[in-house]
Subunit: 318 residues, 2 copies
C-alpha cells in the first residue's frame, strides 16, 4: 500500500505534515504502508530526521513548486507542472501511489481529482462530504458540502448512494438511513429541487430512505446520510465548524462541542472518482494529517471502490 502525501499543503506545512506522518507510521493499529512525500526535499528531509520518521517507510519525491492557498486552481495546475499537487496527481493517475492526500489549495485538489482521475462509470458528479457529530455520540455524513453548488435531483439521488456506500464500508454503519435535507417533514414540502428529489430517493431501492430531515435534525440521530446540494451543505459545514471555534473562544468545555473539532476527522474524501483522494483543511495540524493517512489506508483496504463500481453499473441501476 502506497499513500501519497502533499508535504507543502496547509497553513502549517511541512512541519505538521511530518509530525502527523510520524504519528501514523508509529501507530500499531495501522496496516503497513509506504508513504510517498511530495514536497521540497531541502525542507522535508531535515524535518524527517528531526522527528525520527522511519526513512525505510517513506519515499521523498522532490517537487520544487508549490500551489499557494489563494492561487486560481485551473491556472496553477496547468502552469505549475512541478508542484506537489500536480506531481501527486500524476503519480496517482499512473498507479505509482494508491491514494493522495493534501491540505493545500482546495480548489486545485478538486480540479485535480475531477480531471486527472476518472469518475466511476455512471457517476454524473463527484461529491465531497463531511462528518457531522450527532447528539447521541454517533456520527452522520452530510453531502454535498460545496463541490456542487447547483444540483439536479439525479445528482442528489447519486450522492445518497455514494454516501450510503461510504457510511457502510468506511464508517461501519449497516443499512445507513438516508435523509433529504428539507424545510418540512412531509413529502411535497421544500423548494423545487427537494420536491423533485424526494420521489427519486423514495423509489431508489439501493438506499434506505427515511424521508426529510430538517435543520433541527442535523445534529440529532435522525439519519446517517444527509443529502443536499452543495450550497446548503457548505453553509451547514462551516456553521458547524464555527461552533467549535466559538465554544473554544468562550471557554465552553464539553465533550459534545469537542466533537465539532474537525481535526478529529482529518479531511474529506472526494467520492465518485475511481481512486482515494482526501482533501484536508488548511489549518490541519499533526492529528488531522495522521487521521487523513489512516482514512486513506482504510479506503484502500476496504472494498469501497469495488462496491461503488458495482452499484453504479447499468445492471445494478435497472
Amino acid at each position: 500500500m502506497k499513500i501519497g502525501l502533499d508535504m507543502m499543503g496547509g497553513d502549517f506545512a511541512p512541519l505538521e505534515a511530518v509530525k502527523g506522518l510520524q504519528l501514523f507510521l508509529s501507530s500499531q493499529e495501522e496496516a503497513p504502508a509506504n508513504v510517498f512525500l511530495f514536497g521540497d526535499e531541502a525542507q522535508v528531509r531535515p524535518l524527517l530526521e528531526e522527528h525520527q520518521v522511519p526513512l525505510d517507510r517513506v519515499t521523498v519525491v522532490h517537487t520544487p513548486q508549490v500551489i499557494g492557498m489563494h492561487e486560481h486552481p485551473t491556472k496553477a495546475l496547468k502552469e505549475k507542472q512541478q508542484s506537489s499537487i500536480t506531481v501527486g496527481f500524476h503519480f496517482l493517475a499512473s498507479g505509482k501511489i494508491d491514494a493522495f492526500i493534501s491540505a493545500g489549495n482546495t480548489g486545485a485538489m478538486l480540479v485535480g481529482a475531477c480531471y486527472s482521475l476518472k469518475s466511476i462509470e455512471g457517476v454524473l458528479r463527484p461529491t465531497i462530504s463531511t462528518i457531522i457529530p450527532k447528539e447521541d455520540g454517533k456520527t452522520g455524513l452530510l453531502l454535498d458540502v460545496g463541490l456542487n453548488a447547483d444540483c439536479k435531483p439525479e445528482n442528489l439521488n447519486q450522492f445518497a448512494l455514494l454516501g450510503s456506500l461510504y457510511a457502510k464500508h468506511i464508517l461501519g454503519i449497516e443499512q445507513p438511513r438516508v435523509g433529504l435535507i428539507n424545510i418540512g417533514e412531509e413529502e411535497g414540502k421544500g423548494n423545487i429541487l427537494a420536491q423533485a428529489t424526494y420521489p427519486l430517493l423514495k423509489e431508489n431501492n439501493q438506499i434506505n430512505f427515511v424521508g426529510n430531515v430538517e435543520g433541527r435534525d442535523v445534529f440529532i440521530d435522525s439519519a446517517d446520510v444527509m443529502v443536499c446540494e452543495g450550497f446548503t451543505g457548505n453553509i451547514i459545514l462551516k456553521l458547524a465548524e464555527s461552533l467549535y471555534d466559538i465554544t473554544q473562544r468562550k471557554s465552553i468545555e464539553h465533550e459534545y462541542f469537542d466533537r465539532f473539532n474537525f481535526e478529529n476527522y482529518g479531511g474529506t474524501p472526494v467520492l465518485g472518482i475511481n481512486k482515494p483522494v482526501i482533501i484536508g483543511h488548511g489549518i490541519s495540524h499533526a492529528k488531522a494529517f495522521k487521521n487523513m493517512l489512516s482514512l486513506s489506508s482504510k479506503m484502500i483496504n476496504s472494498n469501497l471502490f469495488e462496491q461503488m463500481q458495482q452499484a453504479f453499473a447499468p445492471s445494478a441501476l435497472s
Copy 2:
C-alpha cells in the same frame, strides 16, 4: 393603539397567552395599549380574572372555531370563518386593530398575512426573518427563513432592503451592514442565485452591502442583515434553534447559548405587507407572548411602514 392577539394559537394557549398578556400590560416600559383577544370566551374570561389582567385594557372577541396546528392553511382559512385567525385578519384588514399576533398554525398566518392584507407597493414577495444571536452579544437578522423556498435575485435584493429598514427602525442598528449568505468570500462565488444576486446588492444604494458572508460568519458579527432564499434560511434557523435544545438537554449552561432561546425574541414579523403581523413559535410560553406584544407595539409606534412605503416607491428605486 390596538393590538390583536390570537388566544387559541400555540401549544400552551390560551393559558400562556393570558400570562404573557398580563406581563405586557403590567410592564411600565410599554406604551399604553388596548389588546383585542380573539378566542373562545368561555375559556379566556376565567383565565383573565384568575391572572388579574386589567379588564379595561382588553376586548374579548368571541371566536368559536380554532385552526389546528396541522390543518391545511388555505382550506382551514376558507372553511373556518369563525376561527380566531380568520377573524383576527378581518379586524386587521378593516382597521379595527393595528397589529395581529398568533402562535398558531404558521401556514394559516402566512396565507392570511399575504392574502387578507396588501403588500407594500413595489414589494414582489413578503418575507419572514429571524434574529440570530452573535458571538459578541449583538444580534443579526437573517431572512428569508422559509416563506420563499425558491427565489429570484430580485427577491433577495428586496429582502436586503426590508431587512435593513427593520434592523434600523426596530432593532436600532444605524446603517445596518448587509451580507449575502454564500459559500465563498469573493464576488463570483456561489450558486447561480448567489452569483446573480451579488451585483444587484452591490449596486443597490439604499443598503450598506458588505459582501458575502459564509456559514462560519452567521454567528459572528460580520453583518447585521444576512440575506438568502428561504430554503437555506430555514435550515439555519432550525439548526440554531436546535442548539438551544441540545445545550439544555446536555446541561451546558452558558449565556451565549441562552441567547439561542428563541422565546427571547417572541416571534417573527411578516415583512413587506402594509400592517404588522407577528407569527409566534408553536411552543411559545408567557415570555414569548409578552415579547410579541412588545414587538407589535414597537412596530406600530415606529415609522417602519412609512419608511418601507417610501423606500419601495418608484422614485426611491430609480
